[in-house]
């Protein structure tokens, strides 16, 4: 066993990295075929009302225009609403592009102009005159429409996003009687999905209701079933391919309208069609919802939390109930006898919001951890001490143990490495030159989840191992990590393992999100590997007398060989013995649901941040940030670190930069481009440090993994806001903290 080349836990560079940086990697819009047509989406410029006329004749007369799809001439699609429901559909009625003349939100797709060239299609789209009957009474701003608030409607979505837990104790009484109290109201404007790659689908029409689709997605099978269901095609006739995804962060969890429209155009015209959304059109679909939260926390003389009240209002559309897990976190982190949690939705004339990196969690922890910070000042104790005082080894909400929880190690090791003890407790007490310096910290949490998935493992005549799954790699490193897991299982070199992925024709994988892919597909890889090993052993026994008495416990797999004592057979020999037929097996990976019901499962983090504030001019700089993460076994510290760093940059963006500017009178967002929708630039990012604490988890799954996609984001925003308070004595709860708020 000692000579096995362990690959898990090594900082291996992403296998497709070279292809990505040299441009060899083909994304959805990079697949060119002869005679392809181009579609360009036309968006509604009103927020609510009806289309009364579309002057298609004028645009049809332009050169190169072949067709303009609208609600008037589109092909018929599936009859029942349920046929449009994708794997991530919330309860309600899925939005169907070009369905009828109704306008439900500003920017809604209302036509697709199809032309011989991209430029012709774009021009046609720009020239298309549309007449509307506008309803001036519309509502798009959360804050001013709270009277519409109501609980989310129950539905399938409750399975993954259950409503808040029931109240415990008597919060109001506890709060009134408490020795210490802290409260705050927290507001977040919408955040729009802007991964580097734009949303694109290239649909190849293969004749007779058959489509091959290159698409930007987080779920090849999700898109495949969606298209097949909507257009009445056979599943096996729809293939969705997406091995490279240029960032997604939740935006690809649902099939977006460019896919729907491109597929419709291909079927209706019986041609290959590509549709790419432009950057401003990235602001015309799902987004992180506007959210308003009220948080109150009470504590006794000793600083023990006695009551937690977290209430949230989230934006949703008029047709679907998008919900988030927003208010369950505080009582899962801090034990309190009295809890009062409430979560309501406010339906508005907007596109349905959509999961975005750490949905719910990254919003919630802003309220929780900034209110906790306030409480620490009231108690006059170190914010870190308050966390430790209220540390819980179990999930207090359901009184279940965690499968593992090394949050305390995150606190202590993080504080040590950051130099937290240098912090002077008083706000405004630390200075550097003419700047105020502040230290802030916060906790983060994210569910550790696993879903079922299927994987094929196969040995081919050349002795190579092929692992197959429909899963995508949205930039997280899935391709590399699955290859590592399989290589480890067989003691093989990574070069001899081929992970085939990002294709709906491959064995089932769910959508890629929620930080559950490594556990979900990883366990299926483990199971398929085990089954394949058994098969290989059987073959070895059949092929060679020397293996007669071998069994699973006594053989090992080393560098493409099965080894038993002094004897070995190579995979090449085994396949030859199998009549040159590949040796293969397909297996499922499931979470151990029965066992895991007794446990709480979460990844944890603690973020420590230093800011400098030039108070006179309000200029804020995050000079240093450290995130300590406990997320089970880290499969690949390099890709994992990238995930956390990306989350930290996002947290800085959320805290200081990113803001959509809504014009409620028009019902639209005004800064729909990357010049005015400010993401941080390099000059905004200074020292960032990631620390993975040891966390051995023998319960959660056989790999001991929890996922690192979202946890890096959760704690950083509140830590920055707390640091700004420490620096300036000003608490800004309305994000982003622009410098004018400090003047």
């Amino acid at each position: 066993m000692t000579e096995m080349n362990t690959t898990i836990g090594k900082p291996i560079s992403r296998l497709e990295g070279f292809d990505k940086v040299t441009g060899a990697a083909k994304y959805a819009a990079d697949h060119h075929v002869p005679d392809m047509l181009y579609g360009y989406v036309v968006n509604s410029i009103i927020t609510k009302g009806r289309i009364t006329k579309i002057h298609t004749d004028e645009v049809m007369a332009l050169p190169g225009i072949l067709e303009i799809l609208t609600h008037e001439n589109r092909m018929s699609t599936a009859w029942f609403d349920i046929q449009y429901a994708d794997m991530d559909a919330p309860s309600g009625t899925v939005f169907k592009p070009l369905h009828d003349d109704r306008i439900k939100y500003n920017g809604q797709p209302i036509a697709l102009v199809i032309a011989e060239t991209f430029e012709q299609a774009r021009l046609g789209a720009a020239k298309l005159r549309v007449e509307y009957k506008e309803e001036k009474q519309h509502a798009t701003e959360l804050k001013s429409n709270l009277e519409r608030a109501r609980p989310p409607k129950p539905g399938m979505a409750f399975l993954l996003k259950p409503p808040p837990p029931k109240p415990t104790g008597d919060f109001e009484k506890a709060y009134q009687e408490a020795a210490f109290r802290a409260e705050g109201e927290y507001h977040h404007s919408a955040e729009f999905h802007n991964p580097m790659e734009l949303f694109a689908s290239t649909v190849l029409y293969e004749g007779k209701g058959k489509l091959t689709i290159y698409s930007k997605t987080q779920g090849t099978i999700n898109d495949q079933t969606f298209i097949a269901n909507v257009f009445g095609l056979k599943y096996q006739n729809v293939r969705v391919i997406a091995p490279y995804v240029g960032g997604a962060f939740g935006s690809g969890l649902r099939p977006q309208h460019q896919l729907y429209l491109a597929a419709m155009a291909a079927l209706q015209l019986k041609r290959h069609v590509r549709v790419v959304l432009d950057r401003s059109q990235m602001f015309t679909f799902g987004h992180r919802p506007q959210t308003l939260m009220q948080m109150r926390i009470s504590a006794d003389e000793d600083g023990k939390v006695t009551g937690l009240n977290h209430e949230g209002y989230g934006e949703t559309s008029t047709y679907e109930d998008y919900s988030e897990i927003l208010v369950k976190w505080a009582p899962m982190l801090y034990p309190a006898a009295n809890t009062l949690l409430k979560y309501d939705l406010v339906p508005l004339d907007v596109a349905t919001p959509l999961d975005m990196r750490a949905p719910g969690g990254s919003t919630a922890f802003h309220a929780i951890e900034c209110t906790m910070d306030q409480l620490a000042y009231q108690l006059n104790i170190d914010p870190l001490e308050l966390r430790i005082k209220n540390y819980s080894e179990v999930d207090p909400l359901e009184n279940k143990p965690f499968t593992s929880k090394e949050l305390k190690a995150c606190y202590l090791q993080g504080a040590e490495k950051f130099g937290w003890l240098d912090r002077k407790p008083e706000p405004r007490s630390m200075r550097r030159g003419n700047k105020l310096v502040g230290y802030g910290m916060a906790t983060g949490m994210w569910d550790a989840m696993q879903l079922p998935a299927r994987v094929e493992a196969r040995v081919t005549p050349d002795g190579k191992l092929h692992i197959k799954s429909a899963i995508t790699d949205i930039g997280t490193g899935t391709f590399t990590i699955m290859t590592q897991i399989a290589a480890e299982q067989f003691g093989m070199a990574m070069e001899d393992v081929i992970f085939d992925y990002g294709n709906s024709a491959l064995p089932f994988a769910p959508i890629q999100g929620g930080s559950f892919s490594t556990s979900t597909v990883g366990i299926a890889v483990v199971n398929a590997s085990k089954a394949l090993k058994k098969k290989l052993l059987k073959l070895a026994i059949k092929a060679s007398d020397q293996f007669k008495s071998a069994d699973v416990g006594t053989v090992s797999f080393i560098k493409g060989n099965i080894v038993y004592g002094d004897h070995s057979l190579s995979f090449v020999e085994l396949v030859a013995a199998n009549g040159a037929k590949p040796i293969l097996t397909r297996n499922m990976g499931y979470p151990h649901a029965l066992k895991l019901r007794k446990y709480a499962m979460a990844a944890h983090s603690a973020a420590f941040v230093e800011v400098e504030v030039d108070e006179e001019l309000g200029f804020i700089k995050v000079t240093r940030a450290l995130t300590a993460v406990a997320a089970g076994r880290i499969m690949n510290p390099k890709t994992a670190r990238s995930q956390i760093l990306g989350g930290m940059v996002w947290g800085i963006s959320k805290a200081l930069h990113e803001e959509t500017l809504l014009d409620p009178a028009m019902g639209k967002y005004m800064n729909q481009n990357l010049a005015e929708y400010h993401l941080p630039v390099h000059a905004d990012i200074h020292e960032l440090e990631v620390l993975f604490v040891e966390e051995e988890d023998k319960i959660i799954n056989e790999l001991g993994t929890k996922g690192v996609g979202e946890i890096g984001l959760v704690a950083i925003t509140p830590a920055i806001v707390n640091a700004i308070y420490h620096a300036t004595g000003k608490r800004i709860n309305d994000l982003p903290v622009h410098f004018d708020k400090l003047l």
């Binding site: 410029i45 430029e119 930069h657 803001e659 500017l661 009178a665 630039v681 622009h738 004018d740 003047l743």
Partner: protein
Amino acid sequence: MDNFDYRLAATTAEAQQLFSAGKGARYVAGGTNLIDLLKYNLADADMLVDINQTQPAVIKELADGGVRISALMTNAETAYHPLIEQRYPLLSKAILAGASAQIRNMATNGGNLLQRTRCYYFYDAASPCNKRNPGSGCPAITGQNRMMAILGTSEHCIAVFPSDMCVALAALEAVILISGPDGQRTVKFEDFHRLPGDHPEIDNILRPGELITAIDLPPAGFSKNYAYLKLRDRSSYAFALVSVATGFELENGIIKNARIALGGVAHKPWRVKEAEKQLIGKLVNKETLGTAADKILQGAMGFEHNTFKIELAKRAIIRNGLTALKPELQLPGAQPADISML
């Protein structure tokens, strides 16, 4: 964006000929603003007349001690040119605080003067906007106006002219050389851009067909005591909410000559000569600068989301004035300098 013809002009005369021959012709230099406007369907053109080869992109020293900068030189070449770095470092700093390295490599000096506002409503073809579509209204007045003007606004438009370079050019009292169908003319920088008034659709005094050929800088470069400060929502690649260009000529610490121009606050770079004059004979300190700032900001009026600019501009004028005492304290990206050691 509609199809257009493209012509490369070899001389200024040829460019003007091409311009007047074709209907709907437009000059293009770096294209960093015009092409965006075409793509967003905010401008149209039947023909683009490329002026990049109409003259060499150079800087010449003038007999009076000033310099002449070609309108077709890129922003990057200008900012890094030794003559500018040494004698007009204020201009260099202001240029380098603008846009991104990639854009500055393409953008020309002439184009910079003529870039259009970044008002959100101007940039949205579906919104009303008096600047884009005269008479249609100005939603910014009651809408998203955090980036808008606080000085020189009109009831028809409250947009800001977004250039950084031009704030320095205003402070340096540059002169614009123009060549048109009716011959050459020169215009003082302060007269080049206009306030919105009743005609927000007109940004400046350039007439159809006229070309900017060069920008002259007078001898006084304020190279000893100068500073540029830009306040914005991220450290690079964002337009100024408030920016300040400051230059002093000092004698034993006493101000002999002062220039202060503000960006991000009006439809043109904002200068109040009276305020500069009052500084002459005084020391550079918080009080004198504060008084100057009050004068410069006299009549400033904020809207729902941008009233903060008034106080911010005052503080920026003070900070930048003090920074000008020790220009080496300036930071990359024109971030606020730490002047605590002054």
